[in-house]
């Protein structure tokens, strides 16, 4: 049938993605990650090269849409997953990830890791982190808000684009941020803020696209976002607003799958993750802060980034227990 011919043609077209599968290595490690980690311009290809040079094995990245999709993929595959390591969940997902029963304790010394708040876990190891921040366009705003309170109570004609906590990680981040600052008053604060919200997008990409195309002068993103514009585009037009209450933290973690085909190799990768060979690629390729020491010199732009006065972070269990209720609260306040 002609369809199968075409499928083969598509196959042929897709194959260059896995070059050199017949390489000498007889040990292979598959790592599940989110899609943007393993793009041409992401850290994936470089980390693969340096890890393979060290382990004499083959490292295979398998990318899915994002951290949430990563967890869903595990749930769908169960113990049939071919991966040894899952890299790219965040602390908000840790409790649910553990509940799948698919992970096991790494048993490694994680003293090399240092993230704000000193997060540590016997199953998941942080590899990078970032703080959420409101990024503003200096050409459109002279005095950005200096606190979450100022954001909430500011001029409703100065708009912000945020993401939907039902479908996106930063969106959930802002819900947690507001909750950690406003507590029981969060619903009221959201109601007030909703006047300033231009629109709520399904994901980060749409929101940031609206922001850079000039639709809104503010967007919810990461403290490190300006670094990209400074390094890659040589412009300091977009800046993060430092908030007096502190910034909510996102810590990205990796874990060992209990059914890893080659557990020793998987552990070796997690060890490698805590070394500069891995960490050096994080700042300028994943645009996040490294969770362990790097041997590279950070671009000057990173020294200009906002340093949060306080790190805000709910424990994973608390997020897991309250996520639905808090999102419902957001929904109610924003729909009014």
């Amino acid at each position: 049938m002609r369809t199968s011919l075409l499928v083969s043609a598509v196959l042929a077209a897709s194959l260059p993605l896995t070059p050199g599968t017949a390489a000498a290595a007889d040990r292979t490690l598959t790592v599940y990650t989110y899609d943007s980690f393993n793009t041409e311009w992401g850290p994936g290809p470089k980390i693969k090269a340096s890890f393979e040079a060290e382990c004499g094995c083959e490292l295979k990245w398998v990318g899915v849409a994002d951290g949430v999709a990563l967890l869903n993929r595990l749930r769908l595959e169960g113990d049939r997953a071919e991966a040894g390591v899952v890299l790219g969940l965040d602390t908000n997902l840790v409790t649910e990830a553990k509940a799948t029963g698919l992970f096991e304790a790494h048993g490694l010394d994680t003293s090399a890791i240092s993230v704000p708040g000193g997060y540590s876990d016997d199953v998941f190891i942080p590899y990078d982190y970032g703080h959420f921040a409101v990024i503003y366009d200096t050409e459109a705003i002279d005095t950005p808000p200096h606190s979450l309170k100022e954001l909430v109570e500011g001029d409703p004609n100065q708009k912000i684009v945020i993401q939907d906590p039902r479908t996106s990680t930063p969106g959930l981040g802002l819900v947690l941020w507001m909750k950690s600052v406003y507590g029981d008053e969060a619903a009221k604060a959201w109601e007030k803020l909703s006047g300033r919200v231009l629109t709520v997008t399904p994901g980060w990409s749409e929101a940031y696209g609206l922001f850079t195309s000039g639709e809104a002068p503010m967007v919810l993103s990461y403290i490190t976002s300006p670094a990209y514009h400074m390094v890659a585009e040589d412009t300091d037009r977009y800046q993060a607003a430092a908030f007096a209450e502190g910034h909510y933290l996102q810590i990205e973690v990796a874990g060992l799958l209990a059914n890893a085909p080659d557990k020793e190799l998987a552990r070796q990768f997690l060890e490698f993750m805590m070394t500069p060979g891995f960490q050096n690629e994080i700042p300028t390729h994943n645009w996040m802060m490294p969770a362990a020491a790097v041997t590279m010199e950070l671009p000057e732009a990173f020294s200009k980034l906002v340093t949060p006065s306080t790190d805000l972070l709910y424990p994973s269990d608390e997020v897991a227990a309250n996520r639905s209720a808090w999102i419902a609260e957001w929904l109610g306040a924003m729909s009014r």
Binding site: Y32, S205, E206
Partner: protein, 544 residues
């Protein structure tokens, strides 16, 4: 006119197609239900569900009304002016929005209607301070009209153009004015295709997702599709996702049944020419309303597309075009598109033939069921959320890692199903008239079975089949590939690459890709349209 054997083959083929479609739709749902350990709808969810259901139906209903409300006068104006310069281009242009990925279209719309868009720039020149805001229900409607008004126009126009030229002369001779001409002549000719267009548009808008969220302004604008996406992606609750899908399918079908919008045959494609002269059309200044309406509609559809092109031109196209990744994504997208189009056209062909055969004996309940099933199957495919299909199939395949053929096949299958309703609408009327024209002759010459399909039916329908085929390729090109959300590690499509670029600050690259993707779609749509302008349409006009 088919022989007994041909009838058997046609019905058998139809049943096979329905079984395949049924399997493709129901198997993943069944797997998800079996997997479903989720809590279903929790307390307090009921009110939420009511609200989003109401909003889903409200925005879909308003979008349909507006799209048709604008398409009907526009169609009349276009039918009255059969020969102005650029008419064919305009109608080709009207095929483009449908093939655009929603996000690309949304960004294009924002360039025109956004806070910093052309429209607001124009308003501020006029001294109006408060900018017109696209966000909210108005933005959703605007975007839906952008997508669907052109579609409706293309679906309705052939019905008007097929009226014999004597009608217009008689009407002019009798002195029938605009209103009575519309009431007594034009509307009866448009009614069927307008109903079919309304059904199609209602389904497309009811399942709209990205546009609704991006332009909706906040969670008050939430459709069922958003809730389904959330249930599956964020809460991983397959049971709830399936339940919500069932509500979406059931309600949409109920509304369409109530309005009698379902399984009306409509036609697309054949939209050139028409009556060479319309004596009832005003000349000179009296042509002004028509000219204004056509020009405004053309600008309304073209402006966002031009915006996509202009912002794309700012990108480093040379670098994009020289990257291996771009070509790999293009090859993958085209390959998927071609395979999906072959499957879609084949399924459509089987179903159209079965429906034709079933129509030969109107009394038979079994054949009535077959006819109804083919009609329903071609609509249902639009109502089952792709994310549900993707998740279900992924689960059935036991995870996608390491596999390439299976996930690809699923993407192809889903894309084929999504374009099926459109392809059927292109092929069915053509098949009908080919049967009327050649049926008896073929029988009398004793050309039957496979010979007849090869020698007579396929050549007679080459043009519309090509139109449907290219249409399906283009629709598939713009699709993100829902399965990609779950297991796509090695399948990189163009829209996916675009999202990757957008998801890592590379907005200029994304704009460049949007241009390339949009240009490919436009080329395909224009090519599809030109195919349809071939001998087929001419011949068809000779029919009494």
């Amino acid at each position: 006119m088919l022989t007994r054997g041909e009838h058997r083959a046609a019905r058998g083929g139809g049943v096979a197609a329905i079984l395949l479609i049924g399997l493709a739709l129901l198997a993943p749902i069944w797997v998800l239900v079996a997997q479903g350990t989720g809590a279903g709808l929790g307390s307090g969810q009921g009110a939420y569900l009511m609200r989003i259901t109401r909003f889903t139906l409200l925005q879909a209903g308003l979008s349909t009304l507006l799209s048709l409300g604008l398409a009907i006068p526009l169609t009349r104006a276009l039918a009255r002016r059969p020969a102005f310069a650029g008419r064919r281009w305009l109608i080709s242009l009207f095929a483009v929005p449908l093939g655009l990925p929603p996000l690309v279209a949304a960004l294009g719309l924002l360039e025109v209607w956004g806070r910093n868009g052309l429209a607001n720039a124009g308003l501020s020149v006029l001294g109006l301070e408060t900018p017109f805001s696209i966000y909210g229900l108005s933005g959703i409607l605007l975007a839906h009209v952008f997508f669907n008004m052109p579609l409706a126009t293309r679906l309705i126009l052939p019905g008007l153009e097929r009226l014999p030229p004597e009608y217009w002369k008689t009407a002019a001779n009798l002195g029938m004015g605009g209103m009575s001409l519309f009431r007594l002549v034009e509307w009866p000719a448009m009614r069927r295709s307008a109903g079919a267009a309304a059904g199609l548009i209602f389904m497309l808008c009811a399942t709209s997702f990205t546009l609704v969220l991006v332009l909706g302004g906040g969670p008050a604008a939430t459709t069922l599709e958003v809730a389904i996406y959330q249930a599956l992606r964020f809460d991983f609750d397959p049971g709830r996702a399936v339940l919500l899908s069932a509500i979406q399918i059931g309600l949409t079908l109920a509304v369409m049944l109530a309005l009698r919008l379902i399984s009306l045959p409509a036609e697309a494609g054949d939209t050139r020419g028409g009556s060479p002269s319309r004596p009832d059309a005003g000349r000179g200044w009296r042509a002004l309303p028509d000219i204004t309406l056509i020009a405004l509609s053309g600008a309304f559809v073209a402006a966002p597309l031009v915006a996509v092109v202009t912002s794309g031109l700012a990108a480093d196209l040379g670098r994009l075009l020289s990257s291996a990744q771009f070509w790999r994504a293009t090859a993958t997208s085209l390959g998927i598109g071609l395979a999906a189009a072959i499957l879609s056209v084949s399924l459509a062909g089987l179903m159209v033939r079965a429906r034709h055969s079933a129509g030969a004996r109107p009394g038979s309940p079994a054949l009535g069921l077959l006819s109804g099933m083919t009609g329903a199957a071609s609509s249902l495919t639009l109502l089952v959320p792709p994310v549900v299909l993707g998740a279900g199939w992924f689960l059935m395949l036991g995870g996608g890692s390491g596999q390439l053929i299976a996930p690809l096949a699923v993407i192809v299958l889903i894309n084929a199903l999504m374009s099926l309703p459109f392809v059927i609408r292109v092929i069915e009327p053509a098949h009908q008239s080919a049967m009327e024209r050649n049926g008896r002759l073929a029988l009398s010459l004793g050309i039957t079975g496979i010979d007849r399909i090869r020698q007579i039916d396929i050549p007679a329908m080459l043009a519309p089949v090509s139109t449907g085929f290219v249409f399906a390729v283009a629709l598939s090109l713009g699709d993100l590939g829902a399965v990609a959300l779950f297991g796509s590690d090695r399948i990189l499509t163009l829209p996916w690459l675009l999202y990757q670029k957008l998801g890592s600050y590379r907005t200029a690259d994304a704009a460049g890709l949007a241009l390339l993707l949009g240009a490919t779609t436009m080329t395909l749509m224009v090519v599809a349209d030109r195919f349809g302008a071939g001998t087929f349409t001419r011949a068809r006009k000779d029919l009494p």
